[in-house]
């Protein structure tokens, strides 16, 4: 089966006043039909720039790209703006973290969906409106016909995000990119929206790229996971690989620092010491090495993203630690995490250099 989307060696750099920022550094992954791929990382990891670059939304005079983003026969990275316009919204749709800024405040939501449908398909206003109402109903908006006449401010945050999903679905896209779709929402609403996205890809076969900082969200809905740190993919694999056999110390740290309601309350929350590096002056070698309790001489060189377990060739990690040693070291006090360093709770200064 050929992949729906194939990202190969994607590199994105921005020229800034202070120097060149390499926001995305040799990122590769693929997306299958009906699959939900989670990209997880903290702020500055390059996860959003990666998503925006897939749709040509990070283009600009100071941006430079290399690599390939193959969507069928089309390389989205080099495609002309006119070609991209035919893809955006219609074949690849995107929803953002803040639905208020993504909706036009002075137009009724129904009209905004109608406009989107009519932009891509030559149907009448009336038919487009019927479709819009049907979509609003499908994403769980009660009294959809009435609500289509409302303005964005008349919706709550969760309902607005549902409108965004309805709009994204309006042209039956093949790929849905969701950038932190539930971060601005309350937990009960988050659970509802995630269930909606999950149902959607099962019903319609749309491939979903879900970008989040929350491993709990990933655990709930993802099939495969890409873990990013400071512009690089540090680990990728199946859901089970990442949660039960994680390869990279950063993944351990992330898993360890999530507060867990299903476990006893620890005396201290495990942390990852320090803070992420500045992408203007990233450390040589492994980007995570300055915060890693297990760094050794080899870490001054950049490790390859490689499959280390011959039985799991889809599970890739970017770490110098031999697999056996990694498996032994990742367990701290009975669960996966990073050992607490001596000065573990002091704020790092690397990002302010």
């Amino acid at each position: 089966m050929t992949a729906l989307l194939e990202v190969e060696d994607l590199d994105v750099s921005f020229r800034t006043e202070e120097g060149v920022v390499r926001a995305v550094d040799h990122v590769s992954f693929s997306l299958q039909r009906g699959e939900l791929l989670g990209i997880v990382g903290e702020s500055g990891s390059g996860k959003s720039v990666t998503a925006l670059s897939l749709m040509g939304l990070s283009r600009g005079p100071n941006a430079s790209f290399s690599g390939r983003v193959m969507f069928g026969d089309l390389d989205l990275l080099t495609a002309a703006e006119r070609q991209l316009e035919r893809v955006r919204g219609r074949r690849i749709a995107m929803i953002f973290q803040d639905p208020m800024t993504a909706l036009n405040p002075v137009h009724r939501v129904g009209d905004q969906i109608v406009e989107q449908i009519r932009e891509h398909e030559g149907v009448s206003r009336r038919r487009a409106l019927d479709r819009a109402v049907e979509l609003l109903d499908r994403v769980g908006i009660p009294r959809a016909r009435d609500r289509a006449r409302a303005y964005p401010h008349e919706f709550s945050g969760g309902m607005r995000q549902r409108v965004m999903i309805a709009m994204a679905l309006s042209c039956s896209p093949e790929i849905l990119i969701a950038d932190e779709p539930t971060t601005a929402l309350d937990v009960t609403t988050q659970a509802q929206i995630l269930a909606e996205i999950d149902k959607l890809r099962r019903d319609s076969g749309v491939g979903v790229i879900l970008i989040t900082h929350d491993l709990g969200v990933i655990a709930d809905v993802a099939d495969r996971v890409v873990v990013m740190y400071a512009g690089r993919v540090v680990e990728q694999g199946s859901l089970a690989d990442i949660f039960y056999d994680p390869r990279h110390p950063y993944t351990w740290g992330l898993l360890g620092s999530v507060p867990r309601l299903d476990r006893a309350r620890p005396a201290r929350l495990p942390t990852i010491p320090g803070s992420p590096p500045s992408l203007l002056h990233p450390p040589a070698g492994c980007h995570f090495a300055p915060r890693c309790a297990w760094r050794f001489e080899a870490c001054s060189g950049v490790p390859e993203l490689s499959a280390d377990d011959p039985e799991h060739t889809e599970h890739l990690g970017r770490c110098w630690l031999p697999l056996g040693l990694a498996r032994a070291r990742r367990v701290v006090d009975g669960s996966i995490g990073l050992p607490v360093a001596a000065a573990g709770d002091r704020a790092g200064t690397s990002s302010t250099a």
Partner: protein, 369 residues
Amino acid sequence: MSTPGSNDSAALLEVEHLEMWFPVRQGTAGGKRGQVHAVDDVSFAVAEGETLGLVGESGCGKTTLARCVVRLLQPSAGTVRFRGDDITSLGSRALRPYRAKMQIVFQDPRGSLNPRKRVSQIIGAALELDAGGGSKQDRVRKLLDQVGLNPEHASRFPHEFSGGQRQRIGVARALAVNPQLIVLDEPVSALDVSIQAQVINLLDDLQEQLGLSYIFVAHDLSVVRHVSDRIAVMYLGKVVELSAAEELYTRPVHPYTQSLLASIPIADPELSRSRVRQVARGELPSPVDPPPGCRFHTRCPGATDICRQVEPPLTVYPGGHEAACHHPLNVSASDLAGARRSPAASRSAGPDTPTAPGAVAADWTPTGT
């Protein structure tokens, strides 16, 4: 310590029947007027050295309540007492000594630090109120060190720091006046997970060293658990449940609390996907026109007629667990027999405490021990 606060027997902070309402205009011409009861008859106390978690969804009134407590807002009704002194309607001059005892740290460290001032000036301004011993610069350096920042960075501007570091500056500023109570309004929500944990550990350490009391406002029950001694859950301006922290997770009594717990994803795919979730239906009703009876009844899977008509009183169960529900979960017959109306119950609530446990299945993943 002399004034303020000479009454040692009282709790550090007592809030009684506090109400805060804001006028709103509805309709296109702004003609129809209404009121948002952002905080509607809330009572609680905070003891010395204690952390009270205040949890709820956006719009539940938790931030408004926090701001009333430190008197950034003038409550519409009720009383706020600090060490027994009624500070509910003190003017700004009379409040000054209390300002040094109660501090607040805001959610957004970008918006709450003046971008044009150096860190030494930001923290130094707070020292004008209570400089303590030593020179101002020494104090600033000591404070920065105390919150885990490099004292050499005192002359930097806020933008030169990362989000987590900025939040530490906010904490240092609050500490500058030697407060006894710090209200933390979503102090880690804007931070990355790994940085959240660092800041929470810092707050823990400071509390231990300085004997501080905290009111920790958050929408995230998983974070609150790590800092709180007791937790109050709010829904549409009311406290619906109040209990010792761990007990809230092992034995939620109010269906809303249970639904909040069930909504939190667990970072373990097998566990997270295997649990049956009882998640609240629909969404938060408008606080301008809250539902009659129990405010949660429109979303509650176990709601009955009485829930639609009579507001349930906050009820104390044996052991001190309080909840306002006609059909409480996780309570035994003897719990019900020993239940009595809480002194903190809203005055608008019905007279009767519940007589039978709720029928909603308690099917969320329990806390490990």
